[in-house]
Symmetry: C3
Subunit: 263 residues, 3 copies
């Protein structure tokens, strides 16, 4: 049994500073997810200060969910600093299909060398130039239909690519894994996908094998969802219980509870 | 007994994409309210992309709670697209009395033909050019004192007007309803009025009778509040239970629990 | 036994309008903390309207957590209005050490006469020009090591200075208090420090003795944390129970539960 919990143990020992330039909807819950899990979140975006803060950070995540021109400048400045300093960064191409702004920005960011890309099937298909049917932040395409696109995107970019949904798929272009952890209430709470991107960053920050760290992050989040779903009465109590579970799950429990298969 | 639940049933079957340009305080809870209820929320605002996203949406809501000049441009671009495409839109004139910016913007938006306007008594009185005593987002005026102003505003604009408070009032200028559902803890949680505006949008999106759909939205939200209030220990647990209740209430339960009278 | 609860009683009777220019992460939870406690929160920032809203407010708080150039203009306009109108204002120098923007802005704001400054030990040490080791919004320095810096900052500025951590320290330069209330889960929920700044503003708004009002606010928040911690299963349920406790605690309970000593 692979020791997926080892990635969680390392993260909790190192407490990486995870800098997130993310959308307004996700900021609070993403920070709480990272704090509950054991990381140190920071949220900032201003062009005037983002390079300084990026230089202090262990990892950077970028999500353009509610971006405008000023935020795009901050994102590009942050990624440039990350690249110069060797800070890994993770791209969340949320609802990339809905506007030209997002498609152009995604193309520009992908060319700047993300360590990982996490999206739903519709988003990954859109990034790959393939037709997608998703609207907004919800996916209308099945994960299985995006596996080939994910492998190709990983090979073309050098990034780990994670496609999340009922069963997640992770690939570095050569290897592949499916992660079956999760719960049906997760899509009924806003910004959980965005928050998961932060968790991918946290576990990937100090990892030698970034693809396996990404798998561990997805299994951890899904396992927390399973625990929350077992006691929740609906999406409100689910979100509360999810944060409690992220703080409570031990590395050994993650190793025991991860439902991962090679693909 | 009117079948108020039918509006909820239709909404859950159609899962409208509800695009909200709203304030920073409300974004997360509003998205969660819409997801819990069964709609598909989207939050965006940038002038660069808002027209594209509006064109994909089933309904648009506008709340200028934390707007500045850039956001105002995005709002106007969205409403223009909505008008061109026949996408109905709902105005939430939050705390309209506190600044010249808001009063001017509200006047400009009202002239652009909202399908509905939802505010508290102080906000509706201010829109009608009548004296109001409210400060900030809280109302200092009783709903009953704003009924005439609401009817006049509805007749002058063609919009459905909803005045919310302990007992809500809804009118299309000709007809009127009072909705008695609700709970005393609702004003103790921030952004619930803003979130309700999203729910009005969701139920109104595909409705033939927008005034009745608005009544159904208010009764649904108030009924969820009653359920939450019955088990909550305070405003924190109330917010959690409210989301659970929005997901749990069935159309039949809404029809049975709606406390609506014609006015 | 000093009657710390009297400050809470006064605040609940007066229901001050607390205007907050704060960061995106904190807005929702800060508004909910203030509503639960019994104050009336407002969030706004736009240069175009902030002077008008400040003039309506009982107290103003400033937190530059996610500020950019436009927000800085709004902050300065608000503080100028507050100064002209005699509205007290509170500074939260969040993560002031991470960027030149924050350090310059903090210096400028401190020169404009805040009624109170609330920060963690690293932030207060940075403001005092002394070396600090904190990263992001988390403090890496003990409160006890910042007491001298706090006293000096209070004497130099005329502000009440509060250093928060496991045991808080409050001083007006002459007097000093330590507040031992609190719970270990508080740093595991985002934006609670920011929210506490709002509570300091609410209790300080109508107070004759602003230093004692600040002590009361810290004891109140910490006592609510103790109650929440006694029933919480983790950081998610802790945040919910904290809001419930803020609404439930009576002035008499605060007086009985405050763990304050003179320093």
């Amino acid at each position: 049994m692979p020791d997926w919990g080892a990635h969680l143990r390392t993260m909790r020992a190192e407490v990486p500073l995870v800098l997130n330039i993310t959308n307004f909807v996700a900021m609070n819950v993403m920070a709480n997810v990272l704090l509950a899990a054991g990381a140190s979140p920071a949220m900032a975006h201003a062009e005037e200060e983002i390079a300084e803060i990026t230089a202090l950070s262990g990892v950077l995540t970028i999500n353009f969910g509610t971006a405008d021109a000023g935020w795009v400048r901050g994102m590009l400045a942050a990624v440039e600093t990350a690249r110069d300093r060797g800070v890994p960064w993770v791209l969340d191409p949320v609802a990339v299909g809905v506007s030209r702004l997002r498609q152009d920005l995604a193309a520009r960011l992908i060319a700047m060398g993300p360590a990982a890309i996490r999206g739903n099937a519709s988003e990954i298909l859109t990034l790959s130039g393939q037709g997608a049917t998703g609207k907004g932040a919800d996916s209308a395409d099945p994960v299985a239909g995006a596996e080939d696109a994910a492998r190709e995107l990983a090979r073309n970019t050098g990034a780990v690519v994670a496609v999340t949904g009922p069963v997640d798929f992770v690939t570095d272009g050569a290897r592949g894994w499916r992660v079956a952890n999760g719960h049906a209430l997760m899509p009924r709470v806003t910004a959980l996908g965005c928050s998961l991107t932060g968790l991918v960053g946290a576990l990937l920050a100090g990892a030698e094998d970034r693809a396996r760290a990404t798998v561990a992050a997805l299994a951890f989040f899904g396992l927390a969802g399973e625990r929350a779903g077992a006691i929740a009465a609906g999406p409100g109590s689910f979100q509360v219980a999810l944060l409690d579970a992220l703080a409570a799950i031990t590395p050994a429990e993650l190793t025991a509870g991860a439902r991962v298969s090679e693909a």
